[in-house]
Amino acid sequence: MSKKRQQLEQQMMAFCHQFRPFDNRHTKLTPLNISGKQLDEIKVVLKEAGEVALQTDYQVETANFNKLMEQTERCLKAVKRQQMMLETTENINKVTDVIINNYGNEASRLLSAKRTYAQSKQKPTTDLFSLSSVKRDND
């Protein structure tokens, strides 16, 4: 095994060890410990690993190496997915704050369809109640 390949394998294993979402049943949506810089680094490692795998003649070793690459790709995908969920949660909370900060007292009307509905004459298209097992009071 070449020294370069050994080094790449170690880096991939370290990354997968650092972030193992599938092993942790109590993973919560908290800020990740993995920085954007680290993510960029692992992407470079994967690219280099792909080039090394192409140059290797030994089938078994190549298969093992590819498997480790796939595992790293999965970890990378899981990190990206978790980042996306965190970003969306943060973003949507900020949206509410932005509306309140801009509209002041009027925001309560914009943030409650109930208030608008009370004055609306628009008729609904469907009675969703018919799709639910919950009974109406007057049933």
Partner: protein, 135 residues
């Protein structure tokens, strides 16, 4: 698509049903677009973009507006009907219940218009069905 492009598109669009749109950009820590539908007595839709998604939201009601004794019935009703509501889902943001639709960031403007119209229609159906759980 950035919010300026979306405002331009929405402002000049008329749906086959004759709906047009008023758009307003709300400045703040995140970009928010407020869209109101003309020709339909609906609700303001707030649009925000993340790196991957476009999220369209209608704020329905807050915890304080729910009749306490009927809260469980309301939540059951929301679960029962969620899958039937086209393109939209319920969620809670802080203490506020919302109806939302999420689109890929690469969605064409026509898909966003479809989402705004559908959200309004869905929100109306939801308000009609949930009214008795609210005070």
């Amino acid at each position: 698509m950035n919010t300026t492009d979306l405002i331009n598109h929405l402002s000049h669009h008329r749906t086959p049903e004759g709906y047009t749109f008023d758009c307003q950009h709300i400045k703040g820590e995140v970009n928010v677009l407020q869209v109101e539908m003309n020709g339909f007595e609906g609700f303001p839709v707030f649009i925000t973009c993340t790196e991957h998604q476009i999220i369209c939201v209608v704020y329905l009601w807050s915890e304080t507006e729910i009749v306490a004794d009927l809260r469980t019935d309301m939540l059951e009703m929301m679960l029962d009907t969620n899958i039937a509501i086209p393109l939209s889902s319920y969620a809670r943001v802080g203490e506020r219940y919302v109806l939302f639709g999420a689109l890929s960031i690469s969605s064409e403007p026509d898909r966003i218009i479809e989402e705004v119209v559908t959200l309004n229609e869905n929100a109306l159906d939801v308000m009609f069905a949930m009214d008795e759980f609210l005070r």
